[in-house]
Symmetry: D2
Subunit: 348 residues, 4 copies
Amino acid sequence: MVYSVAVAGASGYAGGEVLRLLSAHPEFEVRTVTAHANAGQQLTAVHSHLRSYRGMVLQETTPEVLKGHDVVFLALPHGKSGALADELGDASLVVDCGADHRLVSASAWETFYKSEHHGSWPYGLPELVLASGAKQRENLVGVNRIAVPGCNVTAVSLGLAPGIRAGVIQPTDLVAVLAVGPSGAGKTLRTDLLASELLGSAHAYGVGGTHRHVPEIVQNLTGAGGEAVTVSFTPVLVPMARGILATSTARLQPGVSAADVRSAWELAYADEPFVELLPEGSFPAVSDTIGANTALIGLAVDEAAERVVTVTALDNLVKGTAGAAIQSTNIALGLPEQLGLSIDGVAP
Amino acid sequence: MVYSVAVAGASGYAGGEVLRLLSAHPEFEVRTVTAHANAGQQLTAVHSHLRSYRGMVLQETTPEVLKGHDVVFLALPHGKSGALADELGDASLVVDCGADHRLVSASAWETFYKSEHHGSWPYGLPELVLASGAKQRENLVGVNRIAVPGCNVTAVSLGLAPGIRAGVIQPTDLVAVLAVGPSGAGKTLRTDLLASELLGSAHAYGVGGTHRHVPEIVQNLTGAGGEAVTVSFTPVLVPMARGILATSTARLQPGVSAADVRSAWELAYADEPFVELLPEGSFPAVSDTIGANTALIGLAVDEAAERVVTVTALDNLVKGTAGAAIQSTNIALGLPEQLGLSIDGVAP
Amino acid sequence: MVYSVAVAGASGYAGGEVLRLLSAHPEFEVRTVTAHANAGQQLTAVHSHLRSYRGMVLQETTPEVLKGHDVVFLALPHGKSGALADELGDASLVVDCGADHRLVSASAWETFYKSEHHGSWPYGLPELVLASGAKQRENLVGVNRIAVPGCNVTAVSLGLAPGIRAGVIQPTDLVAVLAVGPSGAGKTLRTDLLASELLGSAHAYGVGGTHRHVPEIVQNLTGAGGEAVTVSFTPVLVPMARGILATSTARLQPGVSAADVRSAWELAYADEPFVELLPEGSFPAVSDTIGANTALIGLAVDEAAERVVTVTALDNLVKGTAGAAIQSTNIALGLPEQLGLSIDGVAP
Amino acid sequence: MVYSVAVAGASGYAGGEVLRLLSAHPEFEVRTVTAHANAGQQLTAVHSHLRSYRGMVLQETTPEVLKGHDVVFLALPHGKSGALADELGDASLVVDCGADHRLVSASAWETFYKSEHHGSWPYGLPELVLASGAKQRENLVGVNRIAVPGCNVTAVSLGLAPGIRAGVIQPTDLVAVLAVGPSGAGKTLRTDLLASELLGSAHAYGVGGTHRHVPEIVQNLTGAGGEAVTVSFTPVLVPMARGILATSTARLQPGVSAADVRSAWELAYADEPFVELLPEGSFPAVSDTIGANTALIGLAVDEAAERVVTVTALDNLVKGTAGAAIQSTNIALGLPEQLGLSIDGVAP
């Protein structure tokens, strides 16, 4: 069976990447692409790299246009997904690449997004370990709504959850600093996202706990360990178009050995196709993961600082967004989880 | 009076930057430049950007060639400065841009450099606050030996020392993650420093407390507060030729207000020409500091994470190396501290 | 049927890209990978992005190791392919990604490569128009030796051949200037290929007709028009890891209209899956083609300058090397030409 | 004497660079900075790298604010300089960094700018050789109006004028392709100038003779040789914040030797402080010139292609704009031409 697919918000970077991956997927057929300001244009006029979509035209993002597809991917500005999804009904699997349905806590949503909460959907991070011993994957089977995680959140959560789950690191006083590419901020016309400003430079943003990804990290890592989590989170914009390198550190639990630490991550990811713990002394590069649905993790124990340091690389648009969306969709529909997804990065 | 100057190790990036800055300094006259493999070549054959040195030829790095200058800058591989400096005598001011004379502790040196300790020289970070209430500047007046700090060390030390000195942050469990450009690693022919490898990518190195800059940070911050320091330090190589953006965080001391925190940094740097605390909510970009002897610091208090976050930008080759060398030399010789040093970055 | 494959010189950039593409190809199974200095290592130790090859070990590049595979891809330094291929026998299809068998003219080879000529093999640029009216594709059917073109050559040849074939531009006094990424120069440890040197910079090389790609361009374009060709060719290294943007210009034949010009290219590429003429007024970006076996061409007629200007974008490692190798192999083996090759770029 | 200075349009990249250079100039004192949308803000809020201007506030760009300064630099959108300059009177030296007063030909202006011509001012490219045997420098002494050249124009004109003046190359059928950084396009919020779009990519614009710099190149090179000029001009945007690498080629005049060619450029630039012909076989890198008022030229004769190839590197914001403005101002005022201008690039 081939599933009919629509992509709403297809003109942005996330929507474009969903389309790029769908084109290589044997069970999905993209029938409809929609946009707002670019409606009426050729898709290739907006995404000149998507040559396999030649001839396809962007339609308006309306419920009428999107209804009736087996799967609808939403890549919309936040606040736009909830009402639209309601109109699509239960027959379609709706996969939201935006933030609207990620947070379970209404108060966390309201604090960080200053708007009304839309409720939460099953969370599309299959490899996330849970306090119960299960993984989040189990919660995605057969669902008809999926909330795709934030890209930075995925990097920090995958990096730290195994240690919290195993009790080898402390869940409070986590510190994460991420080198991130500007595509994570979307195609927004902002001076600080201009090439002239970012080439040869780097700058932090959302410093001091104000970034909207903070409550989502807290939610994931609380879920992994069952205990309260605090995290200092600082993303740093650097001059690479895509990718995240997250350095996530945590206090070592007293009395835990380096071998115990490594075992926690090995146990969590040994059988995962898309998440890999690198051998001792190895740390990933962002380019290892570009274009691939891969997260690579390096791990070190700093005895002097009494901290565990994890370095996680992934492509913010693939494992951080569009790849996670398709992987979760595969699970929801009962398809092989790896179908249509490459694990080899485009490097150098 | 114009001082005669020699630069040893002039063919590397640090040596080249010392020469670039010396060319704009009204009281220094470069008489001699030396190198090892490149001896005999035109300086502009190695540093094609240093047009003002046209006609100058690189000589061998020997005591005979270097003797007799008022000031000798050493930009040599570590282990090479000590014996050479001994032969230059006390009449020359010797400024070591390398690591050999930075660490006071012989055991720290031996642990991290696996070689014999050469003793320590007055440390060239004038703005470093000391537990005594003084600044390191005072220890540089009239000296004839200067150890220039490591570039990453300067970024982390300037970022955290005021808070430790004032007692508003805890000196243990510091966490610093730095986005750094490859020029800090020198002109070494290593695969991971190739443009093909670094363009579009980022990777960490020296993860888990193994980087040689760790003991130097500990030394500086112990000196600032008089108490034991522990730090988790991770440098991340990113695709910008120069520059450092250091995100350095520390646990907030219980009961300290955000205003108290800010006051500590304001007090430390209010009168400094080269180190500036940015207004609340502002954070620096690396490009603000390129080519300039400037360190810019942004500061935030994360109440939820109970951490103070500082973001420090500087040019690793200027305030991180060559500019610090010349600033310290100005102090040692009794010249105006700012002489010959620009504070305006080359941006965009 | 699945074909057994070996890749010799698998540790370099070209070899790595062949492996990345082979991993996505349904009819090829990589059994053997070989290298020189890296023999004995895990492939993922050298190409950390090729996660699908976990566990595979690099063997020595010897005839014994390579014999017996259906297809052998050679990605070796020039001068190394000829003798090796002789020992592999006629039963294997040998695809040389290096320069050894590209040039038909022994004297051209000797002039530019200063070594003995090895003879020429069928040339792997299927879309190249020939003076006969055929395309080079026809010469690849059923062959057991393929010489993969140089990456810059592909960009300039595809950009200009249709106009020469159709007689709308003059074959002499061609001028081509290319912005190229450093991966085209391989993983060589050279100072000018260091990230510190190339970030924020650009420089030309092989200026004035000395580049080894010149005789190959001349060969292709002479073949397209049947007349003598002269070309001024200048590659400019710019800070992007991969990709080529070739601006190739030619004198307009007197009396030819802009519509005639456009028709020549439309006719040549209308049915090509991998080479596309963009609409009037559109010009390609390198990122449109990254990771894809796509060449995109923009075309303008400059009436005042009496020149036709073509701008061709492609990925030097895909359509410029590894993709061309696999596309040509598909043809040689009678497989669908597009099998296993994506046309969508990884962008942004 | 210290001259009072105002900079109008100080919030853009050109205005910012004028300010950076003025800060290092001993005879100029910046009293006034103006802007349009940013009026009322601190200058450092817009140009965070210009720390020496702390406390200075941007005023409105009006004649009242700008009047009464010895020198007024205009860095305004085109069409805005003429009327403003009229109101400033003859007592002020007005230096226009924009396009309004560069072209002598009203019809060329109207064809390329689709608006009314404002007349032309003395042209600020001192090293430009003229058919008369003089240089443009002579036309700048004592003037009170200066039109600063376009950055791309400067690169191509300096690269080719000596050969045209000397008659060793043909003035028709010139071909120039330039790798240029995005800062030349200013701080405009355009999708194609976003970091996500340009990182890892390159694309041409103004292809086919439509770029507004074409008539200005024609004007300069016609002036150098006294004969009609045609040029094919293609700028290619590449991922470096600043800088131009112009590959400019011309047909060799029949019978001219390579030595004659080289002599033409040597003769033109032997005594120039800011323009340098590199030795045979040497070609410049953009990074050699960053931050410096330097243009470096490499030269080759391609006998097979019968073309002379010149490669010119310069910083578009310095020798291409702000440095040229200050150099020309020095000449106009009778100050030493090199005053306040560095020739050493900031590299790596």
